[in-house]
Every structure is written in C-alpha cells, then in structure tokens.
Symmetry: D2
C-alpha cells in the first residue's frame, strides 16, 4: 500500500535519527535547559532574523495551541478563529477545557478575512452588552490552513493591522509551516512571518522531526510560559530530544529543503490529476491536495493507496485528501497517478 | 562529571533506539491505532496477567496524572494524595487547572497511611456540611514514592480496601514503577499490583524509553479516554513511537532487567555511603538515595559529581539526593564513593 | 419615561414582597433546607404533575445554565445550542469557563430544528475522527427563545426524540417560561413540558420574583447537584428567600396569571403597531415584540419610551425590541401606541 | 427554639426591607447601572475615606471569593490562605473549579502569620524547581476569621508589607466585616482597612442585608471585572436590589450600628458562659463564640436552643459554636445563659 493519509505516518528524517542516536547516552539536564536546546534556540532565532525572539519547545500541536492560547488570553477573552480552524474542530475541546471560548469567523477555504475580522471586533465593541459577551482576545490562524491554502503577505499584513489596532496578539499555527513557506505560492519568508504576528510555531511533527513543535514569540510576551507549559503537561522531561531535533532541522536549511520536497511531490500529484481531467476541489499550493472523485474511481484507488475521505458529494462522488510529506517517494506519486 | 541528578538524563535503552531506527520509515496510522501499539498492549496485558485490562500510551508523567485524574473524578470531587505527592507539589497546578482539588493526607516518607485515609473519608461524611466541601473522589499514590520508598503488599491491600469500601478508585503513579518492583524490598509482582488498584501507569521516560507512560486500567473504567487524552494535548500523533518503545521494553523482560540494574547500583551506592559512616536520611530500597552530608563533604563531591539538593539541615549539613538509572555505569558509582 | 427595555426592571410582585416582609424576622436554616423551600418544592411538583421530580432553587439565569450544563456534561462533551442561544452569546463565556464547548446549530428565529440536530449528531458519529471532536452531550433550548418565539408540542417531541435516541438529555432554559406557556400560541402545559425534556428551569427573576430560578429535573439525574451549585457560587445562604418566592408564585396559579398579563399587554402592543402599519420583524406570541421602524419614528418614540435597539437595517431603519412584564401598565402600552 | 446556629437565619434589617418595598415598582436599568448602585458606591467610598476606590456588588460570599480570586490570579498562580480558610474548606472547590490552587499556611485560630507567609514565599523562590510549582499569586485572609478572631493593625501591616514586597495583592474576605470592625478588640477603622489591602469585601448577607456582598478594590486593579462577574454567574439582573441595600446600610452608619449590637450580644453570651465557669475554646472578640461543653450540658441546651457542633473532644465533651447577629434579641441570650 502507498499511504497518502497524512504527513505524520513515518518517523523522523534520517539525519534527525542519527543525531538522536549519536547523543543517546549523553547526560543532559532536563526540561529544555540543556545546551542542545540553547543551540537550537539560537539557530531558530537566526533563521527568523531576530535575536530577541523567545523560543520554546513543546511536544505536539494540540498542546501547543492550548498552552499558547491559555498564555495569551485573559479570563474574559476568547480566541478568534476560522470555523474550520483546528482548535475549533479537532482538538477535543482543549481550548474550552482551559476555560476559553473559540469565537468563529467564516472559513474561506480555511482562511479568515481581515475585513470580517475587523467587522467582528467593531460589532463586539459597538454592542452595548459587550461586557456580557466573550471579548475577542487574540487571533488564531493556521499557515498553511487545514485546507492547504496559504495567506498572501498582503493578507497577513491586513490581519495583523486589524489585530494591532485592536491591541490583540496574532498567533499562527504552523503545524505545517515548512510546507507553506516552501510553496511556490508563498510570498513571504520566515523572517517576514516572524514580524507579521506576535507568536507562531514551527511544526516539527509533520516536517521531519519524530515529534516536537517550536514556539517563537516576541520577547517577553509569554509570561511565565515554562510554568504554563508544565501545567499543560507539555514540558518534556528529556528536553534535549527537542533541542536536538530542531537544531538538526535548522542546520543547513534542512527543514525547508525537506519541506520543499513534499511540496514538489504534491505539485506532481496535482498535475497528474489535472492531466487526467480532475480539477482540484481546493486549489492548494502546499502538501495537502483535495479532489472530488467519482466513487468508483475512489474505490479503485483505495485498493492500492490510502487517503482521507473529506466529504461525500451526493450519491456518486466523494472529496478525498492526499497528503505528501518530506518522506514521500516520487515513485509512490507516480503509482497513484498511474492507478487513477 | 558524573551525573546522579535524576533518572531522565540519558536517551533510551539501545534496544529501544534500534527498534525506532529499524522502523523509522515505515508508514503507520496515527494516534495509537497502529499494529505496534496493539502488540505492545498485548505484551503489557500479558505482563500484568490480565487480558481484560485497558492499555493506553501517553507521553509524559504530568499529562498522564492530569488526564487520568480528570477522567476518574466528577466535577464535585477531588483527589486524595500525600502532601508530598508529585501532583500536589511539582506539576504547576495541572490538577487544579482541570478544575479539581488535591486533598492532602500527611506524608510518611512519601507514603499515605490507610488508617488516616479511612479517617479522612469518615470525617468528610460525618461533617454535616460535607456538600460544601470537596468530596474524596479517588486516591493517588506513587510507587515508588517521591522519596524512593515503596508500599508493602499489606499496605496496598489496606489502602485498596478503604477505597473499595468508599467506592472510589485507587490510582498508582508508576513513573518509576520498574525501580520499585525490581527492588529487593518489593513484596508484590506486576500482576499483583494490577489487582491492588483500579488504574496505574508504567513509567517509560525514567525506565528505558525516550519518553512515554503506559496507563493500565480495569476494563471500561476510563470512559471516552482517547478524547480526554486528546483534550489534554497528550495524544501523540505518531503513536507508533510509544507502542514500539513499550513493546521493546516488555519483550524478554527488558523493562525489569534494566530497572534491576539501576536498583543494584543504588544499593552499591548506599552501601558505600554507609560503609563510610553516613546513615541514609530515608531508607529507600529503590533508585533514589538520600543522605545528609556535612557541607564540606557535599562541596567536595560536587566538584566531580552532580546531584540534587533536597534540603538544608541547619548551618552545617545538607540532605542531597543521588539517583541511578538503567544507564548508570558501575564505575561512576565507584568514583562517587571513592570521592566521598 | 415608560420603560419597555426588558422584563427585569421592577422588583417583585406585591404578594411576593408581602410574604418576604411577613417572614422577615423568622429564623430558618440555610441553603434551601428550610420548610418554605420544602413547601415550594411540593407546589412546583404538583404544578408539574409529577411528585417524583427533583426541584432546586438558584439565584440567576447565567449561573443556572452554567451549573445545570456542568452537571449534565462529561469532560469530553459539549452542549448543543442555537447559535443565538443565550449561553452562546450573552453569558460572558460561563459555559466555557466550566470547561465545556457550545456546539452551535443554525438559529431559526431563536429555535433549533430537529432534523438539523439529528444530522449534526449523525455527522459527528459518522466522522472517523470523532474522538478528536467535542461530543454532543446534551441539547440546550430556550422556551420562549431569545426572539420571543416558542416551540410547538410537535417540535419539542421531535427534538426530544432525537435526544433520546442519542442518549443525551434535553435542557430547557425557561428564564421567561411563564410568558411562553401563557401565550395563546402555546400548545403545551407545564406538566407536558416536564415530560418533553429531562431538565428545565422556571424563571422567577423575569416573572414576578425579586430574583430566583427554579430547576426541575427528572429524579436522580443531577448527581451531587447541591455541591455543584455551591461550587458555582449559586447556593443562596438564605435559601428561604427563594422558597418563599416560588411558593407564593405557585400558589393560586399566580405565576401564570401575572405572566398572562404581560402577554396580553404584548399582544395589545403588537396589535397597535400592526394597526398603524408596522409588520412585526419576528412574529412573537410572547412578551418580547420586535419591529423594524424608520429611524425618525424610533427617535420620536425614544423621547418618552425606552426600548432596546436590536440591529440596524441599512441607513434608514432600525429593528427594536419592546418587552412587557407582569408589571406593565396597560396605560403605558397605550401611551406607546399613541406616540407611534 | 432560640437559634444561634449562624448569622444568616433572618431576612434583612427592617430599614432595608422598607426601602426595597418603597422602590419595588420603580423601573431601573439592570446589572448595577442604576442610580441606587451609583449612590451606594459613593456612600461606600465615603465610608472608606477614598473616592478613588472601585466598588462592585455581588450576591454571595463564595461567588465573590471565586470571582475576585479569578480576577487577581494569572494562570500559573495560586492563592495563599490559612488551611482553615473558607475558600480551602467550605466552598466545594470553587477556587479550583476556576483553575487555581489554594496554597495553605498553618491556621492560628483562623489567622495566618506574616513570618510564615514570608518564609513560604522565600522558600518558593529559593526552590530551583519553582517553575514546576504553583506560584503564590495573592494572599487571602478573612476578617474576622472563621474562628471569630481578628487581626491587629500591626499584623495586617506586616502581612501587607510581605505581600507588597512580593508584588502580590492582599484580599480580605469580609463576610462578617461589620462584626470585626465593631468589636472592642478592633484597632482599625474601615478607612484604615482599605489601605491595608488591595481588595476586600463588605459582607451584607450576614450583616443586615437580605443578600449581597460589596467588593472594594484599589482603582483599576480588577480588570474587566464586570465580564468576569457575569462569567461567574454573579451579576444580578436587578442590580438595584444590591445598591439599595448597601445604600441603606451605609446611611447613618446603620451597618456598624447593627453589627455592634451583635457583638454586644456575643460579649454578653461569653460573659454568661464564663461566669458559669466555662472558659472560651477560642477567645473570640466578635459575634462567633466557641465553648467546649460536657455532652450532657450540650444536650440540655439543645432542647431549647440551636447551635453548631464544632468538634468532639474525646468521649465526654464537645466544642460548639454560638453565633449572634444584628437580629439577635437580648432576651434570647439571657434564655441561653439561664439554661446553661
């Protein structure tokens, strides 16, 4: 079987595994206070072009979202997100379990619109009863979105301007950040991204690490964050494992090189489908590709390939998702297209 | 430097690393639904002597405690624990962040007393205002305790009997379970432990795994647990990593063999200190050893060895903790004793 | 000025005040354990036609919703409600502060649709990733709704049937229950309502009491509810005040008689507007009436009358809400219509 | 029967009832925005000798404690309190339900000691692992305490100095504030109290109001407090009721005059017991009095008087509590003493 279900089906990039192996019996202090973490933090700061950034390592995406959002919100505030946002749909209520409401905006193929955000905030404060409502306390977006789409630089600037005017921080969920920034459609760099929001995270789990997410925040913004990470059960005892992985991924640009590979395979996959007459369901420029297929075609593909069912389209068609990763073999993509 | 600070300073046992490496590029479904997890669950059930047990894999200890406790308690209940319990002291308020109070009993070198537990529960229900108080909803103990001590079988039976009479579950934090059960002082086996409580966890992070804790529960007790694990940010995307590690540790009794090694080194360490005239501060039969040393002796040792300061004893002495692990080299113990 | 802003602008019905005054210096035990509360519970049970019902008294609506919902939901569950539901919009995130998500259905003039609820639940369990999503754990509706509309008996039966099939309780927010049941459009009685859901509350604050909401639940459903009410800060020390008020309101049918008065005034108000050519914005049969007025008409009315602005309709018109209560004077309604 | 169980057994002071009655049919806007609340806030500020204070009205004590503490603490912080503190014992876990730990100090007849507080804070920050522990984020004390005792001015100054040095706010639970400040043992005035802490509340429920607690805070300290009060279900729709009651109590010094009455009755009660040879169990100068009685004496008293059992003292004696209030009749005290 060839697997296109998702981008966390394999382990880690071989260079990451090698470094874990080489250092396996070294003794280091815990909880991210070791030299590998320090080194990785420096490499991340350098890649972001800003030595003043605060850098933290956590284990997984849901815990990272819940912890960052808990750190940024006051008790009376909620987080604004697309209705399709991961935090609103697929985190088992982790945000609410921390006491915070997710305030939803319409999802435009996974993205929120700056005008709609502005209107939402204006409407909130125009409402005489706003003290009885949950205040918009921050913005959450994902880059790329859950639909594989990415924001343009202009869109991010507009969103950020709305947030700054409302004095609320903007947080970017970068679980698949590499696959976004290495897309041909991306018109921003990592250093630019770092200035277009207050906090973001660089996803490791889906982009070459065994596991791990790296939170990057403007200096001093995340108060007492280590305590909060511990409280959320997200502080890895053997912090070294995270430092080592991100250190390796941010040496010689490995992170973006392997992400680029995934995007290239996704583009080949998309081209193959288009060549056979299937228009994309969503025009994603990143490693997630969506097509609506006749059910018999889908069933035929399913004999040799795995993928995720995204939604039924009437009786006869189904939208499915194919995901590539840093580990996707070109021949697997070819086999998929051949079987189409 | 020789490090005796704690038992999570190295990576994983080499056989664990080897298995991670061998399977690194295999593609498996996520979140613990893969065959390695299934296999590990079977091995754990077998080691526990009960095929009906529910087995789950989480990443770290704090998140495991918080998730299990949240699963077991109703809204109006709290968890009873020793005042010295990890959940009461060193988890940054993770239990309270889930809305639950920690109800404390006196700590007897890390252990709670069955009579005191019984009295606590009786006093609660004898109080006319008990509906205004937090109900004892479960018992949390650690085996070994934070002081290296372990409960006897009789003590566990007594505690369990009190819990059963009060219709509340008993949960054992086994972050260092291997180091307890492989101690000469242990008078129970893993299958016995599994019958002496409703839920416990087998610590991996400190006993041979890179990371990972394995929750074992009586069948059907932890309702909707996967959702709750996800909500607590504790559901590892690449669940395979956990299944593989525990599968390896529970093949050929590896888990207990390497735990036994740590205990043997701890006993050699203790004997060395005793031979030089230092009585143990707490008589621990497991991998944590506590001694009160004159400050000049402590300072001399600190030149070549690291360890944790446990508490000042007046102006001239300090209690310190030495911890061995599966990875401790006999020659390191010898060097420590030689330097004493 | 004549006030039509809302239905909690006055104090209590004079008979309620008289009873409070008469008993003011009596000494009673606290927290709802007094004989006035017992008596009121019996009267409520009788009015509901079911001696087995559990009856509790709380102080206000938001705390009642938050406490009941917290009591009914497990940790992994959320409450399904109309997007316009009070709990989703106007309770400052009280539900989320207790850790629970509000799962929204479309609002049809404040009401949810049984087919849409059924589809929502079906879609949830059809989703392979449902364990990563918040489970629909109960239904919340309001009767009358925030838009003054009420469900028909058939609609309630359909909703209840969907809930029963999904094994989730149905909870009715009856902050304005009297104004709903005494409407000409109501085709159910209080005893019928009590069988068409598992829990509901009878609003006192807006219907003749100084304050107070009375929760009615199927027997044994709300486990340890007194503790939870206390935990939510909703257990009134002088519980007698609540028992006395509800006892008075449920003697000689006072509750429904005064509610009927409010509805009659609302119907006169509506008829007056219609007679002058203004069609209702929403066709509400209860004590809240909504009209879209030219701004100059609205401004003219505002010189002598107060009401709530419900929303702008372009540049020239505004939808406003007029609310009557048990205390509304017929001559005030006449003055309003005369000024139209 | 004569009731000495507690101080919330009657309704409200007759002048409070009269004002509620006089204004019953007036129409006022909700949620504390009416003129009666404004007036009461001015009266309270004047009584506190500081026009800059923020004043809020809530309904009950538990909700007031939970809301204020939630407002003052960050996510990683807990509230320091005496082990005997109401928030630690008798609020059904309300503080933890908001996510915060209660950090306990020894109770000295209900009071905490400044040196012990200082040591606690010092120990916390001296601990290398303090980021894994719950930070002391504020101090909670009660005046009078749950044992009827009160702090001296010097003690309050010392506690406040420790808090100020640690940059944490100090909060005084004044559920029985009147009974403390009007005691002969009190060496502070209300204006002095207002400078010796950052937030306190003036208890109404137990001191002449039907219900209601008045939070007084240094200006700007309680951010977005109205939203938080609403979120905690503690925002009374008919806010007027609270404003009127506190306005009445703080006109012509009524609050302290009626509190003084209760204290005088308590002192007479104490003197009567002492005269008959019973030494106080705790030497309380306020309206709660504690005596250890032979069980036969207790049983005899119980035939005509009610009181609270505080604790068994061996087989033959019991400590009981007698509470007076603004409504206690002198002849009831005499009857009690006569029956002794």
């Amino acid at each position: 079987m060839f697997h296109f279900d998702t981008d966390y089906m394999e382990g880690a990039h071989p260079m990451v595994m090698q470094r874990l192996l080489e250092t396996n019996l070294e003794q280091t202090p815990g909880y991210g206070t070791d030299s590998y973490c320090d080194e990785a933090r420096q490499l991340i700061r350098k890649a972001c072009g800003d030595d003043s950034l605060d850098v933290y390592f956590l284990v997984g995406g849901t815990q990272t979202n819940a912890t960052v959002i808990d750190a940024l919100l006051s008790h009376h505030e909620g987080v604004v997100a697309a209705a399709s946002g991961h935090i609103n749909v697929h985190e088992s209520g982790a945000i609410e379990a921390s006491g915070h409401k997710v305030l939803t905006l319409p999802s435009h193929n996974g993205k929120v619109d700056a005008q709609e955000l502005k209107q939402f905030i204006n409407d909130f404060y125009a409402d005489e009863t706003y003290e009885h409502m949950v205040a918009p306390g921050m913005l959450y977006i994902s880059y790329p979105s859950e639909y594989g789409t990415i924001y343009t630089k202009a869109e991010l600037q507009q969103l950020h301007a709305v947030c700054q005017k409302a004095h609320i921080p903007m947080f970017i969920d970068g679980a698949r950040l590499g696959y976004g920034l290495s897309s041909d459609a991306a018109d921003i760099t990592l250093p630019e991204l770092a200035t277009l929001c207050e906090v973001f995270y660089i996803g490791g789990t889906k982009v070459g690490a065994l596991f791990g997410e790296c939170v990057v925040a403007h200096q001093g913004l995340l108060h007492h964050f280590t305590s909060l990470v511990k409280q959320h059960g997200a502080l890895l005892a053997k912090g070294r494992l995270l430092g080592l992985q991100f250190g390796t991924l941010f040496t010689d640009n490995l992170y973006f090189r392997i992400a680029r590979h995934a995007v290239e395979q996704a583009m080949r996959l998309k081209a193959g489908f288009v060549a056979k007459g299937y228009a994309p369901f969503i025009d994603s420029p990143t490693n997630q590709q969506f097509f609506t297929l006749p059910n018999d075609v889908m069933d035929r593909l399913a004999q040799r390939h795995t993928f995720e069912v995204w939604g039924r389209r009437g009786e006869t068609h189904t939208t499915v998702r194919f995901v590539t990763s840093w580990a996707t073999k070109p021949e697997d993509v070819e086999a998929l297209i051949a079987d189409l």
